[in-house]
Symmetry: C2
Subunit: 407 residues, 2 copies
């Protein structure tokens, strides 16, 4: 018997769970004319929880949304892309509040029930006329896109594909659905870095249970990915729970909680890995696992030190099983290690045992490194702590994309 009732992947995104409608429209924030305003609306006020960027230069929408979510309730999310509304001072705060008010007016709710998110260029005032017109347009079109695909498209910036997924889960007598969408491709790092993620469920989670489930999921998914070690001013990950699947309230102690929580973590994990696969200029998807650490936290430190190392990332880009750089990276991390104990397996090939080189088949390693997905596994042989981090390689295109982005 599995510990949790198994969930299955289904099509759709944030609109898949009952009790939510989502849509994306264009209001002219993006020069390309692509969709740039999204709404995710619940049919009524629902439980909600979020985690936000830890960057102390938090953008205006982060400041406003953090306040609005204090009671653990929300009705609707409004998101714009193309402009981050960050480093915009008092005017920026007024604009974020203005987005909430305009949305509330169309949805017939309180402004404090609106979560606001923005992503795009920093330091440019929002053109509020366009944004307000966009909100009106989106509100009018709510329900017109059962797939919610237009919403996922409207939150993209340098993303090359939209990111959505959903799962269904038999929970007691009910079918519970969890759906999500995300954006992000550069400036990705743990602790919510230039990343927006919105997850919905029709499970009847209480506000407190929303918070517990979301934080547990984020800790091992969105906080375990890295593209470039940079962290944005705007990131947030939000969970809303409509309860439309039926049944009584689900708290942390309810028998349904572990299953629903696992489904939420699965959706977060899928979205997180999609973000890494869309890493700016990425040619390889790298899964770094450190095991045998003194603690999970040590394992995470060592894994991130590898994942964030430009030398390790360029080695993978170059198809080079350069395990010496992995040894360097774990050594410079704050993780406790024994330099004569660790093993390194690079793309399935054991390259280092007990801290020393071992002869390996360079051709087999090159062949394994030519694949799109590359695994780096380190065993520290000190304990039972384990962590997996996902990242991508560092390519010429990363430099091109980021050398040319703003201009």
């Amino acid at each position: 018997m599995p510990e949790h009732p198994a969930y299955r992947e289904i099509t759709g995104g944030v609109g898949a769970p009952r009790g939510f409608r989502a849509v994306g429209v264009s209001c002219g924030l993006k020069a390309s004319g692509r969709p740039d305003i999204a709404l995710i609306a619940a049919d009524r006020t629902v439980s909600a929880a979020a985690v936000f960027t830890t960057n102390s230069v938090a953008a205006a929408p982060v400041v406003v949304s953090r306040e609005h979510l204090e009671a653990g309730l929300a009705r609707v999310v409004v998101v714009n892309s193309g402009n981050a509304n960050a480093c915009t001072g008092e005017q920026g705060l007024a604009h974020a509040v203005g987005m909430a008010s305009a949305t509330a007016a169309h949805l017939g709710c309180q402004a404090s029930e609106v979560v606001v998110a923005s992503t795009g260029v920093i330091g440019v005032p929002l053109p509020m006329e366009r944004v307000v017109a966009g909100i009106e347009k989106a509100a009018g079109e709510l329900g017109s896109d059962p797939s919610s695909h237009s919403a996922a498209q409207a939150i993209m910036t340098t993303d090359t594909f939209s990111k959505e997924c959903a799962v269904a889960l038999e929970s007691g007598e009910m079918t519970v659905t969890v759906g999500g969408m995300a954006k992000g491709s550069g400036m990705i790092e743990p602790h919510m870095a230039t990343m927006l993620a919105f997850v919905t469920t029709d499970a009847a989670l209480t506000p407190a249970a929303c918070g517990v489930a979301l934080r547990a999921a984020v800790a091992r998914t969105f906080n375990r990915i890295s593209v470039d070690g940079d962290m944005s001013t705007n990131d947030m990950c939000l969970l809303m729970a409509s309860g439309a699947a039926g049944g009584g309230p689900i708290g942390e102690e309810s028998p349904e909680f572990p299953g629903v929580s696992a489904a939420i973590a699965h959706v977060c994990g899928e979205l997180a890995r999609m973000i890494v696969r869309d890493g700016e200029g990425a040619t390889k998807f790298i899964e770094v696992t450190v095991r045998g650490a003194m603690s999970e936290s040590d394992a995470e430190l060592a894994a991130f030190s590898i994942a964030d190392s430009p030398l390790c990332k360029t080695a993978v880009f170059g198809g080079d099983a350069n395990w010496g750089r992995v040894a360097m990276a774990i050594g410079k991390s704050a993780a406790r290690i024994d330099p004569s104990a660790f093993d390194i397996t690079f793309a399935g090939v054991k390259t280092c045992v007990a801290g020393q080189a071992v002869a390996f088949d360079e051709e087999a390693a090159s062949a394994a490194l030519a694949k799109r997905d590359v695994e780096v596994v380190v065993d520290l042989h000190l304990g039972t702590g384990e962590a997996t981090v996902w990242t991508c390689d560092l390519s010429y295109d990363y430099v091109r994309i980021n050398g040319e982005y703003r201009t």
Copy 2:
């Protein structure tokens, strides 16, 4: 009156101070046939102090040299390039000890008076026959190169130019000389990252004064540079003081100490900036200054967060005054900041005041960014803490060089 007697730059490197001879020879560790063994020999046992990598995967020569320097005395340094003797286990330690013994035999000193350093590929056993032959050859040629330029060449790896400098200083009745050489171009970060630096002086510093002067100098020079945020297994910075300039012992409290100490810091600063200018693939030299911080340590945290950010580095490569990324970088650092207080000046152009965008002349900014040297200045307006960090941009060539290095 200046606080310290002024020093003046002179030609030369580690061989410039009296009482030292240095030479570099080739022993076949480098496939190119270029010089790969260097000796720096004092005429007698002298005061010495060093700082080493904090990477817990320390290479064998680091382990051996740390032990040899415990008494604060040394006679000679032996350095090989082309092979790091790192991740080489017990055999590696035996090889490092062997390098010390071979050198001691030729110089007629104790093995414990020999400092050993290695740089190059990780995880490959040293070909000791060649190394020992190289040491013999170098010992025979000591004194044949008064410029000591061959020694500076023999420690290069991916360096595109050798790094040397020297200054002379009138100290009381004496002329004191300080000289230095260094190598390093990638994997550079604070705390001695893939960097070797050797500084000599003919001042009669005591072993304790050597340590104080070196640590003070390193803290604001070699520990304030960053190429890629990676840190090597092999780094060290060594100071040897022969006393051949004459005069009595110079301790920390001696009137000569501040002047000599400043000259040592100057040599370290010049060498550190040369390393950054030779950063792998670098097209720009970037000086990041953070002032107005609550403490010098806060200023350093914020400055490194900018200097290590791939997004900031690619922006400079692209000639883009993308100050939003600088705001992001200071926000993600652990430095205390007020998001409504900081100013950012990018390449001499004020782009952000009190945490907000200000209109600026994009053409003037582009022209300033087209230059080889770019300054980024942040004023946090919170206190008097200040720190300057030197780094370089992140270019296509960084990716090329590091994607192809080992293979």
